[in-house]
């Protein structure tokens, strides 16, 4: 039995809420303005709760099991983050309150800006971008503004062929011409191909490092030199920052502008596809172009707590909004995903410098260990030491099953499948990112499941082709969905 839709559960006259009386004399409603019908479902509170709880039971999340989705960093989301983000003093504040009534929020944001600067090696950070893709768009617009101010007409952004699809989309959205750079046999950026494109038209290179193959580019310093040498700028896609915490600071290596993913690296939950948060860090030269407002800290005779009539702290600062002088403008309404920032702040404060380095070390240890074990069963895209993730090739000798079949069969073993068919340069890719929060026992069990699946591929391939068998639904007809396009459920017209 599938869960009914709300429009099927609806019974005219039901309501799932209680509301106060109007309580004041009523004003006339303007004629011709009032809607005749509002076709929303009518269900009771119990209906609402059971419906959505039953739906939740059809989902797989990190709290249920191993979620090795490559480049998504599906690490455990600490529960204390949720407690922190639900403190009413944070939750019930309005974005337009006067600054002296939200000193707590501004202080937290200022501290987080400082932490991210320190972790990434950047001169300045803006917390505004809503997600990684918006961080990319922000960085590319900053690169545009930087060149424009210098009177240079640079119209090309270079993007390696291993990059995530948002990179070219973000560049194209900003009006740049996108040129793809090849990867070499070891999975690095092909230096010769890169150098051939480094000229006066180059605005910048968007580089994900470690890249989506999980590899740290062996020629990173040469890449930086080539791009900077022709006047271009280096954009860093921080999707894979989890491997770098306390290991290397992108700003120190030469990245000019870089986005963080708080929902990957800094443990904030992915929410079923959002909200994320994609702060952008940059060098001093690019800082004037950051989107704003950002938070600045000023020395003050009055402590923030005193605004409310009592002293809370010995250090006295006042936090205020400031707009970077040549800002590209706002990229979203208000200041960014504040409740996500509270979680990331909590995480960084809980871990400290040593804890963050431990994260990167164990993430890389886990990936290399799992790569070793998976490599005994499946061919790897590159036989190299990996960083936080690796790519295996989802083919089994003596069987015609595909990566998709292997992925679906993993569901029957109780695991979330890895990212598949990405990066595009590896056919039948299975991109596996275990993260640091998984135990050796879990990694062993996952590797064992893959070993058994490879065996099944040879002996009972239909078991894979028809998988999953133990999920709430069987394989879904995506062609029908796109062809027949049923995108909503409607209530019968009111009689």
């Amino acid at each position: 039995m599938s869960e009914p839709l709300l429009c099927e559960l609806s019974v005219p006259g039901r309501c799932g809420c209680t509301l106060p009386e109007v309580g004041v004399p009523e004003s006339p409603l303007p004629e011709g303005f009032v809607r005749q019908d509002l076709p929303l479902p009518e269900v009771s509170e119990v209906d609402v709760v059971r419906h959505f709880v039953r739906l939740s039971q059809l989902n797989y999340g990190v709290d249920i099991g191993f979620y090795p989705l490559g480049s998504c960093t599906m690490k455990y989301n600490p529960k204390v983050n949720e407690v922190a983000a639900s403190l009413p003093g944070f939750v019930q504040t309005h974005p337009y309150q006067p600054v002296h009534t939200v000193q707590g929020n501004l202080r937290l944001m200022w501290e987080l800006q400082e932490f991210l600067k320190e972790i990434g090696g950047f001169a300045a950070v803006s917390l505004q971008p809503a997600a990684g893709a918006q961080g990319e768009f922000t960085g590319i617009q900053m690169i545009r503004a930087y060149h424009e101010e210098r009177g240079e007409r640079r119209d090309i952004i270079l993007i390696p062929d291993s990059a995530h699809g948002t990179n070219p989309a973000s560049s194209a959205m900003s009006g740049f011409q996108v040129v793809e750079v090849k990867s070499d046999a070891r999975g690095n950026v092909d230096l010769e191909d890169l150098r051939a494109h480094c000229n006066e038209r180059l605005a910048g290179l968007m580089l994900t490092n470690p890249n989506t193959l999980g590899l740290f580019d062996e020629h990173l310093l040469e890449i930086v030199e080539a791009v900077h040498g022709c006047g271009g700028l280096l954009y860093g896609d921080g999707a894979n920052m989890n491997a770098l915490l306390g290991i290397v600071r992108p700003g120190e290596v030469g990245f000019d502008v870089f986005h963080y993913n708080l929902h990957k690296t800094f443990s904030t939950p992915h929410g079923g596809g959002g909200p994320g948060s994609g702060p952008v860090g940059c060098s001093a030269a690019l800082a004037p172009y950051l989107p704003g407002p950002v938070v600045e800290r000023l020395r003050s005779d009055e402590c923030p707590g005193e605004v409310r009539g009592h002293t809370h702290t010995e250090e006295c600062f006042f936090y205020d909004w400031t707009m970077p002088e040549r800002s590209i403008g706002r990229v979203k309404t208000f200041y960014g995903h504040f409740a996500v920032m509270v979680r990331a702040y909590t995480y960084i404060r809980m871990l400290g410098a040593a804890g963050l380095r431990q994260v990167a070390e164990d993430a890389v240890l886990n990936a290399n260990y799992l790569q070793r074990k998976v490599g005994e069963v499946f061919r790897l895209s590159h036989n190299r030491r990996c960083m936080h993730e690796f790519v295996a090739i989802g083919r089994v000798e003596g069987s015609d099953v595909r990566a998709l079949d292997i992925a679906k069969r993993l569901i029957d073993y109780g695991f979330h499948p890895p990212t598949n068919y990405f990066p595009l340069i590896v056919p039948e890719a299975l991109m596996i990112e275990p993260t640091e929060t998984e135990s050796k026992e879990t990694l062993d069990a996952f590797a064992e499941a893959l070993r058994r699946i490879a065996e099944e591929a040879r002996t009972q391939p239909e078991l894979l082709r028809e998988a999953p068998h133990r999920a709430p639904v069987r394989r879904l007809d995506e062609v029908k969905a796109a062809r027949e396009l049923v995108l909503r459920c409607t209530l019968p017209v009111a009689r």
Binding site: G16, I348, G352, E361, L487
Partner: protein, 449 residues
């Protein structure tokens, strides 16, 4: 604590299996010159300590929990039924990612499908996507969609000066370097008649907002004429709308709007100091392939059982790369879930009731405040839950006085609308009890003396 489970013995065992001596060896590809920097961060804390610290800094804020909030201007303090946080805090929802594997993501997928359905019902449109980042980016994406619908041949975008100032700023950031001209909002007196006259064959869309930033509700009949005028020159009409107001008023979809967008925060999402929120986005069925963002569609599984999948992904960046409709890669899934639970809990009657309470209480407050000496209501009728009041003193001073009396005052319009000096935008929702309105009037009377 890094939430890492390994014992030292296990780490050694794993290193042996990999064939290296130390963890440091795993980082051999990192340039030695910048390997292992010393990060200067505060010492780690336990849960006890971090929560104590966070409670303290949260207490520096004045929150709408302790104060009566009269601030709106694009973010609204509405009642959130208890069922909403109960559902949204289920970790089966919040610890999942984008439903790439539909067989084990039916919960998220069906919830978004329900959300899409209810946004369509609310706006009077045929299709809605799974949401954008917020109201401002939804407006910007609507303009990008209108531009691509005109195949990039039309270069003008008309913005109403009564569109939220930040939406206009976000739209300008999104269109930097695109060669598009955004105009119409340069003069605050540009009303709908003036905007209508500016429509021409080079206009790809006109963007208006109802209720406007200043709270006034546009007449459905006027919107219909505006849509006809826009369509006559081949332009699209984009309408940004407050979703709660749609509990009461004729939706833009019944007035000829081509794209209906808005800030969805008011639907079950707390203020959270400006985010995360969600931008809802709806259009006509005929335009669905030009719309950016995630979409969930209904289908069947191998046994004929109903199920849901992400669909029309060929528009999206992971397949189309630089030719995609937008770079948006996710939606605000958890916020859209909150909106869906909210709309389900309130339903047809509840939403109408919330909108009516806001309308009547706001009009009652305006009527009382308008009679006070020195105060004047500047909004034209009808407004929804917000109205402009000119005050006998600068708004920042008034708001300090209000804060002392337990109110978070209205939005100081002198910041964004220089011609509205000493004007405040007050918002009265169902969270402001009648007794608090009466107390506000008393406080304002004292202030005016």
């Amino acid at each position: 604590m890094a939430y890492t489970p390994h014992t030292e013995a296990q780490r050694r065992e794993m290193l042996r299996a990999i064939g290296v001596e130390s963890v440091a060896e795993l980082f051999a590809d990192v340039p030695a010159s910048c390997r292992f920097p010393e990060l200067k961060l505060p010492a780690p804390l336990s849960e006890v300590e971090i929560l104590r610290e966070l409670r303290e800094i949260a207490s520096w804020n004045a929150s709408a929990e302790e104060f009566t909030c009269l601030l709106g201007a694009g973010a609204y303090h509405h009642y959130i039924p208890s069922v909403v946080p109960a559902i949204v805090s289920r970790s089966e929802f919040y610890t999942a990612y984008t439903p790439y594997q539909p067989e084990i993501s039916q919960g998220t997928l069906q919830a978004i499908f329900e959300y899409q359905s209810m946004i369509c019902a609310l706006t009077g449109m045929e299709v809605a996507n799974a949401s954008h980042y917020d109201g401002g980016t939804a407006v910007a994406e609507a303009i990008l969609m209108a531009r691509s619908a005109a195949r990039g041949k039309r270069r003008r975008v008309l913005l109403s000066p009564d569109l939220h100032p930040e939406y206009r700023q976000v739209a300008r950031t999104y269109l930097r370097g695109s060669g598009m001209e955004l105009l119409g909002d340069e003069r605050p007196e540009n009303d709908l008649d003036a905007l209508e006259k500016m429509l021409d064959g080079d206009t790809c869309c006109l963007v208006v907002q109802t209720p406007t930033f200043l709270g006034e509700v546009l007449a459905p009949a006027r919107l219909r004429r505006l849509a006809e005028a826009a369509h006559a020159v081949g332009a699209m009409l984009v309408v940004a709308v407050d979703p709660i107001s749609l509990g009461l008023f004729v939706p833009p979809g019944e007035c000829g709007a081509d794209i209906v967008v808005g800030e969805g925060q008011a639907l079950g999402n707390p203020l959270n100091f400006g985010g995360p929120y969600l931008g809802f986005f709806a259009c006509r069925q005929a335009d669905v392939r030009k719309m950016a963002g995630r979409l969930v569609g209904q289908t069947v599984d191998a046994e004929g059982k109903r199920g849901f999948v992400l669909t029309l992904s060929t528009r999206e960046q992971h397949i189309r790369r630089e030719k995609a409709t937008s770079n948006i890669c996710t939606n605000q899934s958890l916020n859209a879930l909150a909106a869906a639970v909210y709309l389900a809990a309130l339903g047809k009657r509840g939403l109408r009731r919330v909108a009516e309470i806001c309308y009547h209480r706001a009009h009652y407050a305006a009527e009382r405040i308008g009679r006070l000496p020195g105060f004047e209501v500047r909004s034209t009728w009808p407004f929804f839950q917000e109205f402009v009041v000119s005050c006998p003193l600068p708004v920042d001073e008034l708001n300090d006085r209000l804060l002392d009396e337990g109110f978070i005052g209205g939005f100081d319009l002198s910041q964004t609308h220089p011609h509205l000096e000493r004007c405040t935008l007050l918002c009265v929702t169902e969270m402001v009890p009648p007794a608090e309105i009466d107390r506000l009037v008393q406080v304002l009377r004292r202030v005016s003396r």
